[in-house]
């Protein structure tokens, strides 16, 4: 177990350095490294599975010179429990798909933006990010999670502004500033925990006294909100759509934005007895976010911005699940966690479709694209599967997570109202995605629909994406059922 996890943590960074050195072969090397990381992650989860629900845990590193009890604090390590397994599988599997897709997407044949061939900077940052996400997923305590957390922020900045255009640099900077300000909250909360609880464990929050506990929780929550683009920190995510589309699929659908909700889920799982005030804050934030996102659906012409708002809304769903967890609904909490995985693969697939459209037609504008179904039938199929999966059509991915959340909603008082609100959002989002699908793929082909054929790497990625939309709950449901308080 030990060597596998440690290899898993090291390989992506080594791969990143390798890609930084190589020039022509960076593509192939990156794909290979991502494949290896995925395999290692699967092996890790496979080996840890019999140990669930406790999972496998190792720690090392102490600051023995620190005074008092501080010297015995464990600083680093790895934890593979059901929750981290879920996150680990998500980031590595989608990571591999995205790297594979990138090898086809970032070429000079891309109509939207001709990328320079042999650009190893991209793969360096991508693998660096992959490693950071693996680090976040297997972190056994808040300190280590914070370190990797900030590493993902830096990667996000670099990757969003990859094309170095003015808009992209601005968007990257905005993302960096907003998520980093949230990250400061994390840092201050860590200081509180160190001083008052003398621990970085996830359970440390429970050891704090009343007011201090609330303050620390709110600071951590601000970090999570900023990372997961929740109101009022949501504005960076739509702007971040200037990133190359595979980056949007990975960072802004599957992985980085999930770090925020992952943190909240970790905290709730660890210190189960939380004051219901926390639940109220979480729930209110989530509902406002969902409302904001939904009313913004209808104003987007850029397909990627639409997907970004949808991501924001779905992160709100995860937050609703977590809030239900605070209120004592285990089922709702499991649903929220499951939604991390299910939404990740479904929205990732949709982003890959948006990228394929832009690759072929050179535009992401919904109003300009028309009749693409004739030119790109595979993309049409993948978009439909992704749209049905992300809006919760049985038996595809998010149906199951939404089912858990809906069922969990009834555990709390006035849960019927919550259920109704979520159901309305669900139907509205579904309608709008189908409408957008019609706009883009049906009708007589428009001028933009004269497209270049997709490279095999992108087609294969789309097919894998569709399969993941079906398979995600098969792996995810047993995993979340083992998440116990």
């Amino acid at each position: 177990m030990d060597p596998v996890v440690m290899t898993l943590l090291v390989v992506p960074f080594a791969g990143a350095l390798l890609c930084g050195v190589l020039s022509r072969g960076a593509k192939a090397a990156a794909a290979l490294v991502a494949l290896v990381v995925m395999a290692l992650a699967i092996i890790t989860v496979w080996q840890a599975w019999p140990l669930f629900p406790d999972g496998w845990n190792t720690t090392f590193g102490q600051l023995s010179w620190m005074p008092g009890g501080l010297g015995s604090i464990q600083l680093f390590g790895a934890l593979v429990d059901p929750l981290s397994s879920l996150m680990l599988l998500l980031v590595t599997v989608v990571g591999f798909v995205v790297v594979l897709y990138s090898t086809g997407y970032l070429t000079s044949r891309n109509v939207e933006h001709a990328y320079r061939e042999g650009d190893n900077r991209y793969y360096f940052w991508l693998l660096f990010f992959l490693g950071s996400m693996v680090g976040v997923a297997v972190s056994p305590n808040l300190l280590q999670m914070f370190l990797f957390w900030e590493m993902t922020t830096i990667c996000s900045w670099a990757l969003i502004s990859h094309t170095h255009t003015g808009v992209a640099q601005r968007a990257g900077f905005k993302a960096l500033v907003i998520t980093h300000i949230g990250g400061l909250g994390f840092l201050v909360a860590l200081a509180f925990l160190l001083v008052f609880a003398q621990s970085f464990e996830f359970t440390a929050l429970g050891k704090l006294g009343g007011g201090m506990k609330t303050a620390a929780f709110l600071l951590l929550l601000a970090a999570a909100w900023a990372k997961s683009a929740q109101v009022p920190f949501h504005t960076w995510l739509p702007d971040a759509m200037e990133a190359p589309t595979p980056i949007s699929a990975y960072l802004h659908a599957a992985a980085m934005v999930k770090a925020g909700v992952f943190l909240v889920a970790r905290l709730i799982q660890a210190s189960w007895e939380m004051p219901s005030l926390f639940g109220a804050v979480l729930l209110a934030g989530a509902l406002v976010t969902i409302l904001m996102a939904v009313i913004n659906y209808f104003r987007q012409d850029d397909l990627k911005r639409l997907l970004a708002y949808s991501t924001i809304a779905h992160l709100g769903y995860v937050m609703v699940g977590c809030a239900l967890g605070v209120y004592g609904s285990w089922m709702g909490f499991q649903g929220g966690v499951l939604h991390i995985l299910c939404h990740g693969v479904a929205k990732g697939t949709l982003f890959l479709c948006a990228g394929a459209l832009a690759y072929g037609a050179g535009t992401r504008s919904i109003s300009k694209l028309q009749g693409m179904g004739r030119r790109m039938p595979l993309v049409g199929a993948a978009f439909m599967v992704g749209a049905l999966a992300v809006t919760g059509i049985p038996p595809l991915a998010t149906f199951w997570s939404k089912l858990y959340i809906f069922a969990g909603a009834l555990d709390v008082r006035a849960g019927g109202v919550l259920l109704a609100v979520l159901a309305v959002e669900s139907v509205v989002a579904f309608s709008w995605f189908i409408y957008v699908g019609h706009r883009i793929f049906l009708g007589e082909p428009s001028e933009e629909a004269e497209t270049t054929p997709l490279p095999a790497a992108m087609s294969v990625s789309l097919v894998i994406g569709m399969l993941l939309c079906v398979l995600a709950p098969v792996v995810g449901v047993p995993l979340v059922r083992m998440i116990l308080p």
Binding site: I178, I295, G371, G373, A423, V427, I434, L442, V477
Partner: protein
């Protein structure tokens, strides 16, 4: 291998067939027959299984195929008598529709068949799953699966904007309905102790809710009702239906109109008979269902009168006909606590009408498809005289039209007669049902009128086809056979209603919430030659022997002929009536009210407008089914500004920060004396601070 396992095997065969068709979909001539083979194979398994359940009058079940302990749901195929009836329908219609599609789909030269046959087979698999599920969660999974498959069939012609809009409306409305049903299922699951999605648990829960929390039960029943009524096309929830069905390829449209709508009725029967005990809830919801049905009968059928498009006309009749079933079933549910025998009779009448409707409605959609296949046209104003070109289709259309209009001795009459009987005679304490029954009776005439329009418009008069087209003759045999087969069924069920009623009695009996289900012979007599209804047990209240009536008619006609010969009346030669009259020396189909002035076909259209007779209805009922434009989302800008955090929070903050740092940077003047003064000021500040601290 028990019946349920056989059905499961048939279901699996459909899934395999879908995969196989997907693989060979590029071979346009191969994929159709392959799909047909798989569907027939599946039917060969399902048909005897369903029959055996009905014959043995005992439900069959597979073990749990897939258990989800997290949500206390498990998938098992359970075939009870009611499921068996719907499985029979599916097993008969599915091969016919697939056979019909083989030549029809070759018409679409520039559409890939990958989006037809695999989805068509999956759609059938969804239908089978819906009736075999014994668990609300998996019921809804199959239900939505079926809906999504049918949606993709509706948008099959992907360049067609009308079809796309119709598909959008269809999927949005039905998905919303499914969401309501999912909520109902989850609430029921939550209320059940221990939590469970299974039908048994839901049944027990509803019985318990009826006693303890009636308001909640009413809400749940309303959710179920709206959900199923939307699928069945009940007004006004069926707004999508007349748009969506004509958009699909005819083979699929026939299955949608003929069969899929009826699965909404299956759901209603499952909930309101199987789940809800006979109590005051039956009374309330019986009336609701019956009134919804009657309004569908009235408005659906009257809207149909105004249609010029043959497929749209058929679609509106789907709505109208569903109304008949709901009226009877609603009356039956209302009667449950009062008179079990009469309730059984009314519900049987509704289900019998459902079975008959499957036969003639599918048939009529097939004939409309055949017309469009041969003439490339579905507008009745432009179709004409197709009888000479396609006589077999003409005969089939005639039989179907007479059946749907309820002309004896066809099957539509038998079931409608039972419905009138149950509603008009059967509910003495409730005059509402008398009214609704008479309404239904009247609308039957309207149905006849609108099908006269269909028959007259499409088949009568001079042919509008060019000669080389007309020479192609009737549609291929693969399209003729399903029509002939269904026409034969229409006649068979009309002449020997007991053929269907024997099975229907068992299907209804299995879910009827009464102590002892009255025997078949006590309800409709025990003669294979006809029906002997007894609404109040014992004495017969109505008798219908089609063979006897036909015999008497034959004797009467022979007698008339004999008198005619005896009197040696002179023969006059007159032109055959072509459903029209001479107007200004020219043959016009009907009185022309609004002549059109376009060139080219204008003269033809002016003379042969199919809707001339019905223009007053067209005006009066234009707005019954308004097409609702999709709302344009517009928000007050002030409202949107709330969420534009950049504008009112981050932007100002950044500007403020810029100003502050700008102000601070001004201290860097570059003059050494200034820096010395700053140091001095700093020193003083520190000293003051320390002094304050020390005190």
């Amino acid at each position: 291998m028990n019946a349920a396992q056989l059905v499961l095997a048939g279901w699996g065969l459909l899934i395999c067939g879908a995969a196989a068709c997907a693989v060979v979909s590029a071979r346009r001539n191969l994929v159709g027959p392959l799909a047909f083979l798989f569907v027939v194979g599946s039917s060969v398994l399902v048909l005897p299984a369903a029959l055996s359940v009905l014959v043995q009058n005992r439900a069959a079940e597979t073990g749990a195929l897939l258990a989800l302990p997290g949500v206390q749901a498990s998938l098992a195929f359970r075939v009870d008598q009611l499921s068996a009836l719907f499985l029979l329908i599916t097993a008969v219609i599915a091969p016919l529709a697939t056979l019909y599609s083989i030549p029809y789909m070759l018409k679409y030269r520039n559409q890939g068949l990958l989006r037809y046959y695999p989805l068509f087979l999956l759609f059938f698999a969804g239908l089978i799953g819906v009736v075999c599920a014994a668990d609300w969660l998996f019921f809804l999974v199959f239900w939505e699966f079926m809906t999504v498959c049918s949606y993709f069939l509706v948008i099959f012609t992907k360049e067609d904007r009308t079809a796309a809009r119709a598909g959008l409306k269809y999927i949005v409305m039905t998905h919303g309905a499914t969401a309501l049903m999912l909520i109902a299922a989850i609430v029921t699951w939550k209320t059940a102790q221990p939590h469970s999605f299974s039908f048994e648990a839901a049944k027990a829960t509803m019985a318990q809710l009826a006693a303890t929390r009636p308001v909640l039960l009413h809400v749940l029943l309303a959710l179920w009702f709206v959900g199923f009524a939307t699928k069945a096309g009940v007004l006004p929830l069926g707004d999508w239906l007349p748009d969506a069905y004509p958009a699909a390829p005819s083979g699929a449209a026939a299955v949608f109109g003929g069969m899929m709508s009826k699965f909404g009725i299956y759901g209603l029967l499952r909930v309101f008979l199987d789940m809800v005990p006979a109590c005051e809830f039956s009374t309330v919801w019986g009336i609701v269902i019956a009134v919804a049905g009657a309004s569908s009968i009235f408005l659906g059928t009257l809207s149909a009168l105004a249609q010029d498009d043959s497929k749209r006309l058929m679609s509106f009749h789907v709505i109208g006909q569903i109304g008949y079933m709901l009226l009877a079933i609603g009356a039956g549910i209302y009667l449950l606590p009062v008179n079990g025998a009469l309730a059984a009779l009314a519900i049987m009448a509704g289900v019998f009408h459902l079975v008959n409707n499957v036969c003639y409605k599918t048939l009529l959609f097939f004939t409309a498809g055949s017309l469009s296949f041969r003439a490339g046209e579905t507008n009745l104003n432009r179709l004409s005289g197709m009888w000479t070109v396609m006589p077999v289709t003409g005969v089939a259309a005639l039989i179907g039209s007479l059946s749907i209009a309820g002309v004896p001795p066809f099957n539509g009459f038998a079931s409608k007669w039972m419905i009138y009987h149950a509603t008009i005679l059967g509910v003495p304490g409730m005059p509402l049902f008398l009214l609704l029954g008479i309404l239904a009776l009247f609308v039957s005439l309207v149905t006849l009128a609108s099908f006269l329009k269909f028959l007259g418009g499409a088949f009568m008069g001079p042919t509008a086809l060019r000669e080389e087209e007309a020479e192609k003759g009737d549609v291929p045999f693969a399209m003729q056979f399903p029509q002939m087969f269904l026409a034969a069924l229409c006649i068979a069920f009309g002449l020997v209603p007991m053929l269907a009623l024997a099975g229907i009695h068992r299907a209804v009996g299995a879910v009827l919430p009464v102590q002892s289900v009255p025997s078949l012979s006590s309800l409709v007599g025990n003669s294979w030659a006809g029906l002997q209804l007894s609404a109040f047990g014992g004495e017969a209240t109505g008798v219908w022997y089609p063979v006897v009536v036909l015999g008497a008619l034959a004797v009467g006609m022979a007698f008339a002929y004999w008198v005619f010969r005896l009197g040696a009346a002179p023969r006059r030669a007159v032109d055959m009536w072509q459903c029209g009259a001479l107007v200004d020396g020219a043959l016009a189909r009907y009185l022309v009210v609004e002549p059109k002035h376009e060139p080219a076909t204008a003269q033809f259209e002016a003379r042969f407008q199919a809707h001339g007779l019905y223009s007053c209805f067209k005006v009066a009922f234009r707005s019954v089914y308004p097409s609702v434009p999709l709302p344009h989302a517009g928000y007050p800008t002030r409202f949107m500004k709330i969420f534009d955090v950049d504008a009112w929070l981050f932007g100002p903050l950044v500007r403020l920060g810029n100003r502050l740092t700008g102000a601070l940077s001004r201290t860097h003047s570059g003059v050494p004396q200034m820096y010395l003064i700053w140091q001095l000021v700093g020193l003083v500040a520190v000293v003051v601070l320390l002094a304050v601290w020390a005190n």
